[in-house]
């Protein structure tokens, strides 16, 4: 088996850099995965040139392992290009194709240079394949990571947006819940509800779950916790906005909502709240 020192890839890449670049770009332009609507030919040329330059520098240090320090520049350029493409809306496979499409021109050059010695040619092609595959996988990972960061940021934004507590009346606050309740959100919701109870001195809190799509045992448990915490602070909780399907689910799941006043609509809950405060709304004509 040949040792890495005897590979001719660095030499071939250095010798044919210009030819490799033009063939590679030609190939990418023809590929079906290239999104012409998302990027211009100039950008493609620029990106390809920068990566190939770093690729040549990487190979010239004698190592064909992209995890080595000598590949630092190539990894940085590739990560930058990948992030750029992820932002533009490229799919992971389209992004990885950028690296994988370098195989064909490189293999062609290897074939021309090495000629008929099939054993050497097979070795070299195998080395080049491993190298480019690793770079391709690296680009997919960067792409994936970029997406995950995006999702995490959106979740954070959703958490901040979705917990308004509104005062309906002197002594009555309402918490219209929208979206699924998970542990992290319940914590935020609970904190903002309790803080509003302290700030407004409200003695009744209405939790409206009209916007909660499903209620499972976990969501019910979170609701019960919120109610219990509000009660410890000295405020009574009413739950409103229970849709027929949710009522069915709650009973089927065997969730016990005992001692908690539940109402179908927020208006009904407000009536109850006003009644508990000794207030009464009447029509002007009735006077």
């Amino acid at each position: 088996m040949d040792t890495p020192q005897r590979t001719r890839i660095p030499e071939i890449v250095a010798k044919y850099e210009t030819e490799l670049l033009s063939e590679w770009i030609e190939l990418q332009t023809r590929a079906a995965t290239l999104r012409r609507d998302l990027m211009r030919d100039d950008d493609l040329r620029d990106e390809s040139q920068r990566f190939l330059e770093q690729f040549r520098i990487g190979t010239s240090k004698g190592s064909l392992d992209p995890d080595d320090d000598s590949w630092h520049g190539a990894r940085d350029v590739l990560a930058e290009i990948t992030r750029q493409r992820a932002r533009l809306g490229f799919s992971p496979s389209a992004t990885a194709t950028f690296v994988f499409s370098l195989k064909q021109p490189l293999f062609t050059r290897l074939q021309i240079e090495i000629g008929d010695d099939t054993r050497v040619l097979a070795d070299e092609i195998w080395r080049a394949t491993i190298l480019l595959d690793q770079l391709g996988l690296f680009s997919i990972e960067v792409h994936q990571k970029g997406r995950e960061e995006l999702i995490a940021r959106q979740q954070q934004e959703m958490l901040e947006l979705s917990t308004p507590v509104v005062q309906l009346w002197e002594g009555v606050v309402a918490l219209p819940l929208i979206g699924t309740l998970d542990s992290a959100r319940t914590q935020v919701v609970m904190e903002s509800l309790l803080q509003t109870i302290v700030d407004t001195g409200a003695s009744i809190a209405i939790i409206d779950i009209t916007g909660v799509p499903t209620v499972d045992t976990l969501v019910a448990q979170h609701l019960l916790k919120t109610v219990a915490a509000a009660r410890l602070m000295g405020a009574e909780c009413l739950i409103s906005g229970i849709r027929p399907q949710i009522a069915q689910t709650i009973v089927h799941l065997g969730v016990e909502l005992n001692d908690i006043v539940t109402k179908a609509s927020l208006a009904d809950a407000l009536t109850i709240a006003l009644d508990k405060l000794g207030l009464h709304v009447s029509s002007r004509d009735a006077r």
Partner: protein
């Protein structure tokens, strides 16, 4: 040993906890309070915990016990001024103090005791 003062106001006892609670202090409060209820024949107990930053499971359970003991001695207990963080902690600990009445501040707590006493006194005695 330090003690938490128990003040008498009309037919109510007022306890304002203004120091960090530890277990011995909580037990001492339980002893003092039950004794004072029986001596002064108080009908209401108001415990203000608005200055408490931390309530652990023992203190939480002691508050529940005090309420139950006061109930046996025919006095209504109201815990007032619990902080949001304390409320969340107690609920996470699974201590939702089922037998304890709560109010937002001393004023509302006193109103709650008076209305409870009013209902009892207004009812024809059996």
């Amino acid at each position: 040993m330090e003690r938490i003062p128990v003040l008498k106001m009309g037919n109510c006892l007022l306890v304002t906890i203004q120091v960090d609670m530890h277990d011995r202090l909580a037990t001492a409060l339980q002893d003092d309070l039950t004794e004072r209820i029986s001596i002064s024949r108080a009908r209401g107990v108001l415990i203000d915990i608005s200055a408490l930053d931390v309530v652990d499971s023992f203190i939480g359970r002691t508050l529940g016990n005090i309420a139950a003991m006061a109930q046996v001695l025919d006095a209504h207990t109201v815990v007032v001024g619990m902080r949001p963080a304390v409320a969340i902690t107690l609920v996470e600990l699974g201590l939702d103090l089922p037998g304890v009445r709560t109010a937002l501040d001393v004023e509302k707590g006193m109103a709650l005791i008076q209305s409870a006493l009013g209902r009892v006194n207004g009812r024809p005695s059996a």
